[in-house]
Amino acid sequence: MSDKVKIIIDDIEYEVPAGSNLVDMAKWYADNDIPVFCYHPKMEPVGMCRMCLVEQGSIVKDRETGEVVLDENGNPQVRWFPKLQTACTQIVHDGMVIRTNTEAVKAARENVVEFLLTSHPLDCPICDKGGECPLQNLTMAHGPGTSRMNYDDKMHLDKHVPLGDLIFLDEERCIQCARCIRFQDEIVGDDVLAFHERGRKLQIITNSDPGFDTYFSGNTTDICPVGALTTADFRFGARPWELTEVPSICPHDAAGSNISLSVRLDRDFGGRAMIKRVMPRQNEYVNEIWISDKTRFGHHFTRSEDRLKKPMIKKGGVLTEATWDEAIRFVVDALKAADGSVAAIAGSSTPNEDLWTLRKLVEGLGGGLLGAWTPTHAGADLVAQVGVGKGTNLGDLGQGDAVLIIATDLEEEVPIWRLRLKQAADRGAYLVVANARKTRMDDFASDTVRYDYGQAAHAMQNLDAAIAKKLKEANNLIIVAGAEGLTLDGSRALMQAAANFLIESGHIGKPNNGLLSPFPGANGMGLHYMGFSPEATLQIMQNPPKLLIVNQAELLADDPFAAEWLNKVETIISLNLFPDAVSNMAAAALPIQSFAERDGTFTNGERRVQRFYMAQGPMGEALPAWQVFSQLSEALGQGHAKLSAAAVMKEITENVEAFAGMRYKELARVERQFPDVGGEDLYYGGTAYQNKGGLGVQIETSADKGEAVSVGEVKLPDSPKPKKGQVLVVPVAQLFNRQSTFKPSVLVHPRVPQPYVEINSKDAARMNIKTGDLVEVMMADQIRVTVQAHVNGGAPEGAAVLPRYLTDEATPMVLTVGEIKKV
C-alpha cells in the first residue's frame, strides 16, 4: 500500500494508495459517499446492484511523449468513457477522473432506486430494519420521490421463511444483492446460502440441513441492506431509534469480541433496562465487524429467572436468605476463623477488577493460593512472554505469513479467530492445522498434521521437516496452541514446545508474530496477570484449605472429580450468577452481577484489555464481585473499600506492572478505523456499530519490551494410557452447549446437539455399536454418563471424543481413560 496514485474526484485531486477500491477511497479520502447496495468493503465487488454508477474518464496522455495533453484552457484533457461505470468494480489508477454529481449520475441513481422499489413491499413501519435501513436511507437521498409503477402490481411473496432456527427471510424485501450469500462463501467458508430460480422469481435459499448451518449466521442480518434477513431473537423487539447502545465485550470466549448491547426499558422486565439485541462493534484488531452467533444470541443468561438474587448464608445447616450486612458479617467471621488457611478459585470469565480485589483479600488474610478455573490450559505465562506482539492484527496476515493451529478446534472454541485465520489463508497465508482428529479448520488448511491424542507436544517438536521449514521461513508466524486431548502437564509441554519453536525461529516480539492460546472464558489472560494459575488450582485440589472462595467457577458442573476434594474443604464461600452444586455446599452463596449489569474489563487471548459498560438493570440484590471483596476487605481492616470499578482499575495500574497506564480513560480511546462503519454509513458496512467505547490497550509481551526470553525445557508428561478394553476419553469444546451461561438462550436450543460421543468405526465395530445407539461412558471413580454414539469418522482409533457441557452430569475436563458399553 506504499505506492500512491493521483485520482480526481469531482474536480479535486486526491492521493490514494494504489490498488485500492474506488468506492472505499472516495469515502475515506474525499468524504464522498458513493451509494452502494451490493458492494461491501469486506467483500469482493460484484457490481450487481448498479447503484454506484459514476462518470469515469482518464487524463489523456500523448502516446509518443507520454505527456499530459492540455485543452485550450491549459487544463489536462479528459477522455470520458461513453457510459457510466460501476465505481465498486474500479481499482484506482493514476489519471483516473470521476464525477459523482452530474445529471447523468443522478438520473442513474434515481432509476436504480425506482427499479429496486418496484416490488419492495414498503412495510417499513413494522420492519426491524426500519430506521437503520440502507434502502430507506438511499431512497431518501437519491430516490426519485415518486414512482411510475403501479402499487397494486407488486409481487407478493412469503414474508416469514425461517432460514434455520435463528434467521428469518422476508422474500419480498430482498433486493438480491447477494451480500449474505457472498459473506457465507467468501468470509466464513460455510457456503450454505444460494440463489434459487431466476429473474423476478430469484430467491435466497439455504442448502444445508439443518438450515443456515453456520456459527456466523447473525452477521448476514447486519450486512443485509434491507430488512430481508432478521434474527429470531430481536424480531419486533423495539424500533432501532428507541435503543440505547452500550459498548460491551463478549463474555463467552477468548476473542473478546467488541459488541454493542442495544438496551431499552421493558415492561416484562419490571420496567428496567433490558438487552434487546447484541450487535457487533467495530474493532479491526479484534473482531472487525463480525461476531459469532454465540456472542449474538448468548445474552439471555444475564436476566434468567434462575439467577441467584439474594445473599444466602448457612443457618443451622440450611442455606437461608439474608441481608448483605448479615452476609458480609457472616463471611468475615468465617474468614477470621479460617486462620490464614484461605485459598480462592476464580472462573475464567471473572473480570480483572474482581480478580484483583479477590487477590488482595486472600493475600491480606495470609493465604496465597489463587487458582484459575478450569485447570485445563497452561502456559499463560508463556503467552505473557512470547505472545503475539503488540499491534497484532490477524487481519493483516496474508501472503508470506504462516499460522500453525495445534490441539484446538477453533470453530468451537474461538469462532472469531477461526473466521479471521480462514481469511488469512484465503489471502495466501500458509495455514497448518495439527490435531489428532479432523476439525473444521482442516478445510482451510494448506497442510494438516495428525498425531495421537496426548502427543501434541511431541508432534510440535517433531514437525515434518518441510512444514517446519516453511513455518520458520515465513515473514510472520503465529502459533495457536490449545489443550484439546491433553492433561494440564501436556498442555504446558505443548505451550513450551510452541514457545521454543517461536523463539528459535525468531518470530517473537513483533506484531503478527508469537503465541496464542484459546483459553476458556473471556478473561483467561487476565487470570494470569492477576496471579491466578491452573497450577495453583491443582495444589488446592491436593491440599484443600480450610476456607475456599469460589468466584464464578462451577467446579462441580465442570469436573466430575471435584466432589472428592471439595468435600475436604471446611468452609466454601461461593459467588456466582446461578445457584449451582457448589453454592449448595457453601456456607455462604452470594449473588454477583453479570458483565451486562456492571462496569469492568476483560483481557482477551491477544492480551488486549477491553472495557465493558453497565447496560442492564441488576437482578435482585446482586452486587459486582469486586464490591463484595472490597467490602469484605474493609470489614477485615485491610483499608477502605473502593467505590467504583474505575478506582479498582486505578489501583491495578499502580500495582500490576503489565497494567501500567491502563486507566479506564486510556482503555476508552478510539480512533478512525478503516472501513468507516456504523454511524451514518449503514449503506456501506451494515449495522455493525461504530466503536465509541474504546479499542482497548494491548499488554506488551516480555519479548516486545526487548527482554531476553530463552528456550525452556519441554517436560513430556506421561499421557494416560488406555488398558485393554479401554479407550481414551477426549473432552472437546462445543460452541452451542448447555453451560449455565448459555442454556437460558432458549432460541438456540434446537441447535444444541443431543449429548453424544464420537467413536472410531473400528472401535465401534469391535464393540458392536452403531450411530444412534445409547452408550455409557464409564471413567474412574464410578463416574458415568449415558450418551448417543456417533460413528462418523470424527474420532481416531482408540479415542472417544466426548463434547463437554452437553450432558446434565459433569464430563471430564481433561484427557482420561474410560470404558464404553452399549446400554
Binding site: P121, I126, C127, K159, R267
Partner: protein, 164 residues
C-alpha cells in the same frame, strides 16, 4: 348624551341570551376536529388496527407514548399484520393533544376523540393502558386474541379498506 349612549349598550345586552353554559350539566357541541383523549380502533371483525410500529411514539413531541411490540401467530392473532402492540400506554399528563400520533399512524389505529374530562387523583392513574384506550369489540366481531385459519393473514401491513 354620552351617558345615555352608554346605558343603551348595557340595556341592549340585558335582553340578549347569556353565553355562559352550566358546565358540566350543559356541554357545548365539539368541533369535528377537536382533539380529546385517544382511542385505539378495531376492524369490524374485532382485530386491532394497531400494528405496534411505534411511529406514534416517535412522532410524539412530549414522549407520552410507550409501545412494546410482539409477533402475531395464527393461534393468537391481535392484528391482521405480523406485528401487534403488546404494550400500549399513553401518559395523559404528558400528552399535549397535538394529534401528531394520529398523523403518524400508518393504519389509522389511533384517533383522538372528543373525551376531554380527564382528571386524576394519582399520577399513576394518568397512564392509560391498552385496555383503557382500545375500542370495545364491534357487534359481530370477536375479541382479541383470535384464533384464525392459517394462510389468511399473510401481509405485514394489512390492506385497509378505508385508506385515505
Amino acid at each position: 348624551m354620552n351617558i345615555i349612549r352608554g346605558f343603551m349598550t348595557t340595556f341592549k345586552h340585558l335582553s340578549e341570551e347569556p353565553v355562559t353554559l352550566q358546565y358540566p350539566e350543559q356541554v357545548r357541541p365539539f368541533q369535528v376536529r377537536f382533539k380529546g383523549r385517544h382511542h385505539l380502533r378495531r376492524y369490524e371483525n374485532g382485530l386491532e388496527k394497531c400494528i405496534g410500529c411505534a411511529l406514534c411514539a416517535a412522532a410524539c413531541p412530549a414522549d407520552a407514548i410507550w409501545v412494546e411490540a410482539a409477533e402475531n401467530t395464527d393461534e393468537a392473532r391481535y392484528s391482521p399484520g405480523e406485528r401487534y402492540a403488546k404494550t400500549y400506554e399513553i401518559n395523559m399528563l404528558r400528552c399535549i393533544f397535538c394529534g401528531y400520533c394520529e398523523d403518524a399512524c400508518p393504519t389509522q389505529a389511533i384517533e383522538l376523540g372528543h373525551e376531554h374530562q380527564l382528571s386524576f387523583t394519582d399520577r399513576r392513574d394518568a397512564i392509560y393502558t391498552k385496555d383503557m384506550l382500545i375500542d370495545p369489540v364491534p357487534e359481530g366481531g370477536q375479541d382479541t386474541p383470535q384464533q384464525v385459519e392459517p394462510g389468511v393473514f399473510t401481509r405485514s401491513i394489512p390492506v385497509m379498506p378505508d385508506a385515505k
